[in-house]
């Protein structure tokens, strides 16, 4: 099929390839069906995790993110990625280094030690942005690619680092800068034949970031619990997100909440790529849904 020439270096991060490989696999396959070719980016490391790592030393954060960017510059390819945390590290550092000569020089002094130089020649995109953009894929193309409409109620969790702070982001469409009540990923979910449900405080954090999941897990789970209460109130059959760390927090988090708070929701959590894969006809096995903490069975029985 005609790929339309949209090719990107696929920046993987850590949690997708190493904990939810179905998200990685579905990203590649669903993109291909939509004319996007995701190519291996060899030798990438952790982005590095903006909260966990940036808290220690921001200089190292800039340098390590820049190293990952240089790998793509060497391929002369823009980057596509599937994680909000990685988006902050990779997109934001790229943006900062392009506009701040002092920062750039500082980073290049360090990169010189490993024979690398950041030049600022490529761009970074979250795959959701590429899906949303009609010049790359777009809602009609997604609708056309759907074989199995996912007739269920789905709560969309946007996460934090993709869109916030809006003054430090440069999206193509105005709908993507609405950080109070965004709808653009709801639109992407609707394109799959699902009903995106509106719930209280939809832009609240999942609670995992900033190293908080590691520092005080109960505190982070209390934040997640509040979101789950609101999502259940809206009647969600499943949760979808575009960040594997949020996915981990909602998925493993529900099991941890069962253990520590004694309360169960049993709402399956799927990355948008996994949902899109399902809608395009990929099987639950092809999506490694059995690796999920919360069983996707009730949701699968509803939609398949």
């Amino acid at each position: 099929m005609d790929t339309g020439g949209h090719e990107y270096a696929f920046y993987l991060g850590c949690i997708a390839p190493n904990r939810y490989p179905g998200a990685e696999s579905s990203a590649v396959k669903t993109s291909k069906k939509l004319g996007i070719n995701l190519v291996d980016l060899k030798g990438a490391s952790c982005c590095p995790a903006p909260g966990a790592f940036g808290s220690i030393d921001l200089n190292v954060w800039y340098a390590m993110a820049a190293r990952n960017l240089v790998l793509a510059e060497q391929m002369n390819m823009d980057i596509a990625l599937i994680c909000n945390g990685c988006y902050k590290s990779i997109w934001e550092v790229n943006h900062k280094l392009k506009h701040n000569a002092k920062l750039r020089d500082g980073v290049n002094t360090v990169l010189k030690e490993i024979d690398m130089q950041y030049k600022g020649t490529i761009n970074v995109y979250h795959l959701a942005e590429l899906y949303y953009d009609p010049e790359i894929a777009g809602i009609p193309a997604i609708e056309d690619s759907v074989k199995t409409p996912l007739d269920a109620k789905i709560a969309v969790h946007y996460g934090c680092h993709l869109m916030k702070p809006r003054k430090d982001r440069e999206f193509k469409f105005e709908s993507q800068s609405k950080t109070e009540q965004p709808m653009w990923i709801d639109e992407l979910v609707q394109a799959l034949g699902a009903e995106p449900v509106q719930y209280r405080n939809k832009m609240q954090c999942c609670g995992a970031g900033g190293g908080v999941r590691g520092y005080d897990i109960v505190h982070s789970l209390d934040i997640t619990n509040e979101k789950l209460i609101n999502m259940r109130e809206a009647g969600a059959d499943a949760i979808t997100e575009v960040c594997p760390f949020c996915q981990l927090q909602f998925d493993r988090g529900q099991i941890e909440i069962q253990e520590k708070f004694g309360v169960s929701y049993n709402i399956p959590v799927l990355h948008y790529c996994e949902l899109l894969g399902l809608a395009q006809g990929m099987s639950p096995q092809e999506l490694a849904l059995d690796l999920h903490g919360i069983s996707c069975e009730p949701f699968l029985q509803k939609v398949l």
Binding site: C14, R19, C46, S55, V212, I223
Partner: protein, 194 residues
């Protein structure tokens, strides 16, 4: 307009000093350091409280981002850096998104955390992340259960990251060593855990 006649030098000095330092514990250099690392403008804060009102951690702890910004402006370094709530910010950036003065309170927290680390004040989980990245390139490294799942999906057991291309790891270690991150992380972990 009335003009001061009695002590013009003192008036000049007062007009040079832009910030308010209430007592001996205030260190002007703290605000300078925070501003430099955070690249934001905490001195513009008029304590409206929109940040704390937007914060997911505030309703369930004693963490108050507004107070941390105030401490930056007042130069109260010890109070800020020894507060255990410094580590409860999830970096959701809601405060930054809504601040009416275009300050990035989240970045103030990150700057303070960087300064705390320099004093060996840091929760051990952050250090474990540094160690994982130093040895494998990943903050969350692969494991055998996942490797088996990857192979079942038709993916290579390890992703094409530093897990497969291990020749890139020395380069990463060089970056971390340039900032002495590994040495300091190891030292602090040893002191805490023996």
């Amino acid at each position: 307009m009335a003009r001061t006649k009695g002590y013009p030098e003192a008036l000049d000095k007062k007009l040079q000093d832009q910030y308010f330092y209430p007592n001996d514990e205030s260190k002007p250099d703290f605000l300078k350091s925070v501003k430099e690392i955070s690249m934001t403008i905490p001195h513009m804060c008029y304590q409206c409280g929109t940040c704390t009102a937007s914060c997911p951690s505030a309703p369930r702890s004693t963490y108050r981002i507004r107070k941390f910004v105030r401490r930056a402006v007042l130069g109260l370094d010890d109070e800020a850096l020894t507060d255990p709530d410094l580590w409860l910010c999830t970096t959701c950036y809601s405060c930054t998104d809504r601040c009416p003065r275009d300050i990035a309170p989240t970045d103030v927290i990150m700057a303070m955390r960087n300064l705390a680390f320099k004093r060996d004040i840091v929760p051990v989980n952050f250090l474990k992340t540094v160690q994982a990245i130093y040895s494998s390139g990943h903050g969350v490294p692969n494991n055998d259960v996942n490797r088996a799942a990857r192979v079942k999906l038709g993916l290579p057991a390890d992703p094409p990251t530093t897990h497969t291309y291990k020749e890139y790891i020395p380069g990463i270690q060089k970056i971390l060593d340039h900032y002495k991150l590994k040495a300091n992380a190891d030292r602090i972990v040893k002191e805490r855990e023996g």
